[in-house]
């Protein structure tokens, strides 16, 4: 059976390929990741909700899929675009073939696409809406893409977070952390729980009072999908806990915390998605190779999108002074802040990796150590 298909972007650009995975079509924001491994971790990362993910690495699926590599309970991407998909399941650690799994999960995918051509297009024009379609749907594809709302202003966190509190590490004896679960990755949960943390994941409509009710040792702000500017409710909650409990935020959590401090966020042209971005810790001068997955970023107080300094400069915020702790050496965007007058710190990148390098895992050590000490 011929499974001719194509990727269509909102500007009309089309890339042909062969459909694989589930046979329905899919639309969303078309983005790309430059990570060379960890395809299963990526597609199950809730931060990819609402997106059609393009892999720049040609071969995807080489070692199948397994239970251990799940970053959440399901696939969150809307579709997958590849150059050379593989369905083998004979790797010693594989439970199932990649394409079989995509199909069983109802996720459409397309292979033999000139992914480099697609990425070059997105790089110069920016991430945009698009979809995966069967050749037979050529007539309606364009209207389908048009009907998809743009990513700006989308509140997707509520769709991927839990509807009631989920507890992890209940048998642990370490500090208690309450998280606003806007789409947390299992790697973050594991990193915290491995360090003895008792972690409660709250739905993202949780109020500050509810978060503080159990008197946790700290508040964690998770990663997640969508536009931080569409999550004013969560931002309000964060304002309600800042200064009362130490706060640690990652990715979307970083953006929400910064908005709570009074800083603005903006949409990056085509996002940061990969596992090779250099981030400099401005306090130590050390460089970490980081895992990244975000389409929005935090602007400086003066509205500047790039931070040209290599010094840990201080910004005045609604909650006192904040120190710029990390900067991205690719495009000089903000990668992290440390609050000086209230306890708290945030990073834009993913110290938990999954996929990606482990260079920044020490941030979890430092966080847990800090709150353990404060609790003692």
């Amino acid at each position: 059976m011929s499974r001719e298909g194509f990727v269509l972007l909102e500007d009309g650009t089309r890339f042909d390929g062969q459909l694989c995975g589930a046979s329905s079509g899919s639309v969303g924001e078309v983005v790309f990741t430059t990570a060379m491994g960890g395809y299963q971790e990526s597609v199950t990362d809730p931060s990819f909700a609402g997106q059609v993910l393009t892999f720049t690495v040609p071969h995807v699926g080489n070692y199948g899929v397994s239970e251990q590599a799940m970053e959440s309970d399901r696939i969150h991407v809307r579709g997958v675009v590849m150059r050379a998909a593989d369905n083998s399941s004979d790797a010693p650690t594989a439970d199932q073939g990649w394409l079989d799994w995509l199909e069983a999960s109802g996720i459409p995918a397309i292979t033999q696409v000139d992914t480099r051509g697609l990425v070059r297009h997105l790089r110069s024009r920016g991430a945009m809406r698009g979809g995966i379609f069967a050749a037979a749907d050529a007539g309606t594809a364009s209207a389908t893409v048009e009907a998809e709302p743009p990513m700006d202003g989308q509140n997707l966190a509520a769709q991927v977070g839990p509807s009631k509190v989920v507890r992890h590490g209940e048998s642990n004896s370490g500090p208690r952390v309450a998280a606003i679960d806007t789409g947390i990755k299992m790697s973050i949960v594991n990193q915290l729980v491995e360090r003895g943390v008792r972690l409660d994941l709250h739905p993202c409509d949780v109020s500050a009072e509810e978060l503080l009710a159990d008197d946790p040792d700290a508040i964690f702000l998770a990663n997640g999908p969508g536009d931080p500017a569409a999550l004013d409710g969560v931002v309000e909650t964060v304002r309600g806990v800042l200064g009362k409990k130490p706060v640690f935020g990652i990715c979307l959590g970083h953006q929400l915390c910064c908005r709570a401090l009074g800083l603005e966020t903006f949409k990056l042209p085509f996002g940061h998605r990969g596992v090779n971005h250099p981030v400099k810790d401005l306090r130590t001068g050390k460089i970490e190779i980081t895992s990244q997955n975000h389409g929005f970023a935090v602007a400086a107080p003066d509205g500047g999108l790039r931070v040209e300094t290599d010094e840990p400069i201080r910004w005045e915020t609604d909650f006192g002074a904040a120190e710029l702790s990390h900067v991205n050496l690719y495009d000089r965007t903000v990668e992290g802040l440390t609050l000086l007058d209230v306890p708290g710190s945030t990073v834009q990148y993913h110290p938990e990796a999954g996929p990606g390098p482990h260079d920044a895992r020490h941030l979890f050590d430092e966080f847990v150590e800090r709150i353990t000490k404060a609790a003692a």
């Binding site: 890339f15 042909d16 390929g17 430059t34 990570a35 060379m36 491994g37 960890g38 971790e41 720049t56 690495v57 040609p58 071969h59 080489n62 070692y63 397994s66 251990q68 590599a69 150059r83 050379a84 593989d86 083998s88 004979d90 790797a91 010693p92 650690t93 033999q112 696409v113 000139d114 992914t115 480099r116 051509g117 990425v119 070059r120 790089r123 990969g274 596992v275 090779n276 971005h277 250099p278 400099k280 001068g285 050390k286 460089i287 190779i289 050496l329 690719y330 990796a353 999954g354 996929p355 990606g356 390098p357 482990h358």
Partner: protein
Amino acid sequence: MPRRDDIQKILVIGSGPIVIGQAAEFDYSGVQACKVLREEGYEIVLVNSNPATIMTDPEFADATYVEPLLPGPVAAVIEKERPYALLPTLGGQTALNLAKALAEDGTLERFGVELIGADYEAIDRAEDRERFAETMAAAGLKMPRSAIATTLDEAVAALEVIGLPAIIRPAFTLGGRGGGIARDEAEYRSIVERGIEASPIGQVLLDQSVLGWGEFELEVMRDREDNCVIVCSIENIDPMGVHTGDSLTVAPQQTLTDSLYQQLRDQALIVIRAVGVETGGSNVQFAVNPATEEILVIEMNPRVSRSSALASKATGFPIAKIAARLAVGYTLDEIPNDITQVTPASFEPTIDYVVVKWPRFAFEKFPGADPRLSTHMKSVGEVMAFGRTFQQAFAKAMRSRELDSHAKLDGLGVDDLIAALTPAGAERYDFMLEAFRQGATLEQVHEACFVDMWFLRQLQQLALEPDAPFAGERVYRSVDTCAAEFEARTPYFYSGWEQQAAGEVERGDNASVMILGAGPNRIGQGIEFDYCCVHAAMTVRDSGRDAVMVNCNPETVSTDYDTSDRLYFEPLTLEDVLAVAEVEKPEGVIVQFGGQTPLKLAEGLVEAGIKVLGTSVDAIDLAEDRGRFGGLLESLGYQAPPYAEAHSVEQALSVCDEVGFPLLVRPSYVLGGRAMEIVYSQGDLEDYLSRNVREDGRAIYLDRFLENAIEVDVDALCDGTSVWIGGIMQHVEEAGIHSGDSACVLPPHSLGPEMMEAIRQQSEGIAKGLGVVGLCNIQFAVYGAELFVIEANPRASRTVPFVSKAIGLPLAKLACRLMLGETIEDLELPRDPMGHDHVSVKEAVMPFDRFDGADALLGPEMRSTGEVMGVARDFPTAFAKAQAAAGAALPDGGTAFITVTDSDKAGAVAIAQTLHDLGFKIVATRGTREALERMGVPATELMKVGEGSPNVVDMIESGDVTLVVNTPTGSGARSDGWEIRRAAVARSVPCLTTLAGGLAAVRAIASARSGEAEVLSLQEIHRGLYSVEAEA
């Protein structure tokens, strides 16, 4: 942190001659380092004995010493130049060992020289197997169970811990030389003995075998602020058990989960930190058990390696260049990524293509050698290919190999093909693909070779549908380090196939010239040709045109993206080259610098309407076609040895008497003397033909062999009408030894002015007669007082770099200017460039120690892998330097063993007499002893091999002989000599197999008595001669 300004002058050590395990990749890394450090304003002193390197071009350093890479000469350079620092991490194992020796003997301390990049402690921790194992254990990393032994008894005792199969590796050797895998105790004992012998410190490492485990390498960079990045992961398709240099490898790794890969990454960082490599690149090798995911550290190289060259070319991240900057104080974030120009070097390249490296072997050159692949590297070169998918890259690599003969698959069934996979041999993938074509299952193949199922499935698909990966259109894509996330500024391209083409080449409007490279290094076609191609690129750029390089050899300077305006990393087949031409629309293409590889394409290029610059295709044919060339010589009135051409065995046998014995026989169109032999009788000839000739109608050449003639090589330039002689070289060995294997001297040391004039005149006549535009190499034989023309090659020869360095003028650049339209007159050349006060000797470096069982005898078939040069004020000193540089330093005393064939007995007397006068003890076999004693040279008689014990071989093996002179009998009874030479090679005893070589050696020994030779830089030898270069 900015650059260090407390050091001004830096000594860089190269890697010496090309040998197996250490090839042109270190010229690439050294050139990058020299360029960068000079840009930074440092003064550079360079030492490298290999003249065929770009790094030894005088413009890359302030002082360039072509001297032996031994502690004595290098210490002399240090004393003379007084560098502040020594950078030892870019010249392979040779430079690292040398730096270690200079630290240990106190030289560095005495002259206040600091080791930069890696200090002594770090080198020692990585290189000393025991310390490395301790370091890894302390860092919490696992290695294979192992033991160290310095005696056989210790090794046998260790067997209890390690078990069989076991891996044996000698300490401090290149590419595992002298090691192997033992499956039973007898094999174990024999490899242990050999390994102890091969190790300079008499030590072997014994390891638990991890045969069949996955093998992975990570290239790590570290700066002085402890920032670390992984440049590239490399997966060996061949699992553990085949040396990584002999394995097919792929980048990036394909079969590891992210979680497992990140564990390797973590461990690689722990390794570089624990070893303490302060700055620069290191290579860490791992074994991974595919079923249990257990990871073992195998080894680390605290320096730039063959794999780092591969990783640099595969990703576009220039490891050596960045390592050099890091060594002088920069940090990774201070160095820009050349390719994007807007991002820093402190990142990890990500790639959106697949790269396959394929090794090139030369077993056909070494009959009798063990062709099984093991932990002991045996390949002589490699190719690399890019594709958008693994199958594209694999198929491109396969066609890049340029094999002289392909795997013989006729008549083999699935079972035979599967059986041929174990043990692994050079042609295993040819057998594997054929097995799949014939229906072999994945499981069958996997059980025979343990290659990961993912690769096997890909190869099965490729075997069954070879055209499928190439559906769609060919499109040129950038190698950009970042999977298109940022725009690439550096034009480095490969072709891939996509459904719709969207090429990335922005050619501009400037005229371009394509230069076709030499493909994989192999015996007969080595780095010398890459050297010429690089010079061509420089010249084309200087002329204002864009230089466009096409080549597929990752070990070279030509495939550095800095060398040309646009680099196409592509196979050198007509189809691939024409596709580049289609995009480039070049003004012309240069085929005369890349050896036989591009020359073979010339006709096809012309047919496709592409202009070949310089010497015409017809002139090439005129030189190659024996009949036409004979006609030219006849019309010029020059003599050539009688010859005949036959097209069948029968015809060869019928014409042989007409030509007259002895005969030099060879098949047509060969480079490096493939399958060339001297035969003395009809019987010999029949034997030769049955071994080497397939009845396919191609020509067989029979030439009268001029026994004991002096061979002469000439490199000349011609613009079509005038000729300029660049260099005349006299071979040290007599005619019959392949010119690539013979030592040679410039200027000639024993030819009279009349003969020299005759050589000049005939060279001119031939170059003009052929209509050469560019370079021409002519070989002559001086037989008594007569001059015979042997052959002419209207292309760059192997000796071009040597001559250029000897005379101080860049022949390849000059030739390229002629090809671009200038005349000899325009070049304003000195009439006799050789008339200087120094002598240069080139010596070949042989790989016999790599090929157990192969005869260490020189002959008409070329077998050397590389060359060295010795420069001095007189011939004996230059010869001694060349010998020392080639690894066979002549002894200053001890016992010389002499055994020569009857016809050489008179000549051997002079050698023996000199040695005796120098205080050597002479030992000889009966016939030779009698001949010596008749002439009054005292000698002790030794038993021959068959005569009992202790015999000659026992004595060499026990280390009691310091010099061997052994000339083989002309007629082929070579078994005794074979044993002698094998023993000498194993013991690293200089072994001279020709009388002329022996005579030169004893003169050199005598001259060395007058004291340590002076070290000379090329700049001081050629002072004032670079004006021509500056204009070029």
